[in-house]
């Protein structure tokens, strides 16, 4: 693929995207429209994240891609390969070593540093979309800070289910101003959104980029008497014993036996390398 420019996109396009990113960082949580390009992967498969990564990467960067927290899921493999081919950057599976991390549906367990950038793939950037389908109307609601409807949704949840029944893509208010969709990460990850690293969000099909700069206040919407809870399965990881990580549930046999393992594969691996052992890990080691 040598006939393409560094990181696939031409320099003019990358400059256009960088301008959008800078604007997004200047107005945390605000969705900046940008002229998303057609990428050689389908819309909805990370084209927004890929464009943001392409505009962010430099030849010195080390790149990590995860999908569902794992480096080896097919779409993560495919995107990593794309940048290996078009940008020739170093890639890694170690969160620690990465300078740019592209992710779908998870925030890594490890605390990110100020010299790291995390890029989220976003399918529907508009947190109000399923309350109000019209872009013209939702943009007005954001500009006038009319977010009552968002709480009506949470109210309806509680009146119907006795609890707020949003489990992922849980809406947040950024820097006391814009309500933002943190992308479909589990709500377990919401507290991590206040971090030292730069967080960029790219939605290709919907042509939007938004950002959370380091140390920005990010509050998950809730009620005083029904406070937000960052929940996860009530188990330790069966491989590394971690009690603080988000878990995947795996069906093990026809009898429906389950095991729980870290969704963040790098976190689990580094813990096991450090000697931590979970309930089902011994046989493996034996």
């Amino acid at each position: 693929m040598n006939e393409y420019n560094f990181a696939y996109l031409d320099e003019q396009t990358k400059r256009m995207i960088r301008r959008a990113i800078l604007k997004a960082l200047a107005v945390p949580g605000y969705q900046v429209p940008f002229a998303s390009r057609e990428m050689p992967m389908p819309y909805g498969w990370g084209t927004g994240g890929v464009q943001v990564s392409a505009a962010t990467l430099t030849p010195e960067d080390t790149f990590k891609v995860i999908d569902q927290g794992a480096d080896d899921t097919t779409n993560a493999v495919s995107i990593r390969k794309f940048f290996e081919n078009t940008a020739g950057v170093k890639t890694t599976e170690e969160t620690e070593k990465a300078t740019v991390i592209q992710t779908r549906h998870r925030t890594p367990e490890a605390k990110l540093r100020k010299d790291q950038i995390i890029v989220y793939q976003v399918p529907i950037p508009e947190p109000l979309r399923f309350l109000e389908p019209r872009e013209t109307e939702t943009r007005k609601m954001h500009s006038l800070e009319e977010y009552g409807l968002m709480h009506v949704k949470l109210y309806e949840d509680i009146s119907q289910h006795g609890a707020i029944s949003t489990a992922y893509a849980y809406p947040v208010k950024v820097s006391d101003r814009y309500v933002m969709d943190p992308s479909p990460i589990p709500k377990f990850d919401n507290p991590k959104l206040e971090m030292d690293a730069i967080q960029l969000f790219g939605a290709g099909r919907e042509q939007r980029i938004y950002a959370v700069p380091p140390h920005t206040k990010v509050v998950s919407l809730d009620f005083e008497d029904y406070p937000f809870e960052a929940t996860k399965a009530d188990h330790p990881c069966d491989l590394c014993g971690a009690e603080d990580s988000y878990l995947d549930e795996v069906i093990m046999d026809d009898a429906g036996n389950r095991m729980f393992v870290c969704s963040d594969t790098d976190y689990c691996r580094s813990r096991r390398e450090a000697g931590h052992v979970g309930r089902l890990a011994e046989e493996n080691a034996a």
Partner: protein, 256 residues
């Protein structure tokens, strides 16, 4: 006493046709103004101009705001106007479905304005919703039902509760009893009269039904072809109409 609302020279045209023209009046706190006329008389156009749903071609609608005193709402910014319309103003639509969220529970409908101004305690919001359901004579057990399961009269009462929950200082009503059965209308009127008295509401009610204004309005304006042809105290205008058109309106009601 300073007026709550001063309407000055409002005019709205649709091309060459006059919607309403040269309408001026003052509304004082606690006062209910009725605007009557046939369909096409310009009364709904006038109401929508005053409530900020239509932009008048000329004139001012000066509202006594809590913070800054009298402000012309025609020239204020859209965010300010939208803020007004979810705090100090309320608008009761003729058709309840235009004023309700049909897919949101009764409690959610009433709670929306509270949440829009920052209430964040679910239990408190729900208690106020239940309280308001009681005040508009809807059973507490219906709090989690959607308005689509309500009768027309109940929907209209729910719309009124949804509007009044934040204690607005001015309520616009567009044919609030229109489209309801006569017996349902009577009950709604009774309820409205009780609320107006109890809360000391200031309101502007547009209707073609003289019985509505007789019961609710302190003062009355009669409109024809976009112009106000007669105005005065309700009883005075209805009992001793001066303008030929008002006489016709009153007599046609008496004949029925």
């Amino acid at each position: 006493m300073t007026p709550l609302l001063q309407v000055k020279g409002i005019e709205k045209r649709y091309g060459a046709r006059i919607g309403c023209s040269d309408v001026s009046f003052d509304l004082f706190p606690g006062e209910v103004m009725g605007i009557v006329g046939e369909s096409g008389s310009g009364k709904s156009t006038l109401l929508n101009c005053m409530a900020g749903h239509l932009e008048p071609d000329a004139g001012q609608v000066i509202f006594g705001t809590r913070a800054d005193g009298p402000v012309d709402t025609v020239t204020m910014s859209e965010p300010e106007r939208r803020m007004l319309s979810r705090t100090d103003w309320a608008f009761v639509h003729q058709h309840a479905r235009d004023g309700l969220r049909m897919s949101v529970s009764a409690g959610g409908n009433i709670g929306e304005r509270l949440m829009a101004v920052g209430d964040r305690h679910y239990g408190a919001i729900r208690d106020r919703a239940i309280d308001w359901l009681g005040r508009v004579e809807i059973e507490e057990s219906r709090v989690d039902d959607r308005p689509s399961a309500f009768s027309g009269g109940m929907q209209q009462r729910l719309q009124i509760a949804r509007n009044l929950v934040t204690g607005p200082r001015l309520v616009f009503m567009d044919e609030p009893t229109g489209g309801l059965d006569v017996s349902v209308q009577a009950r709604l009127l009774d309820l409205l009269r009780g609320l107006v008295r109890e809360m000391g509401l200031s309101a502007i009610i547009v209707t073609h039904d003289l019985a509505v204004v007789r019961l609710l309005a302190d003062r009355l304006m009669v409109m024809k072809s976009g112009h106000v042809v007669e105005a005065g105290l309700t009883d005075q205008v209805l009992d001793d109409p001066q303008h030929a058109y008002t006489q016709l309106l009153v007599s046609s009601v008496l004949q029925v």
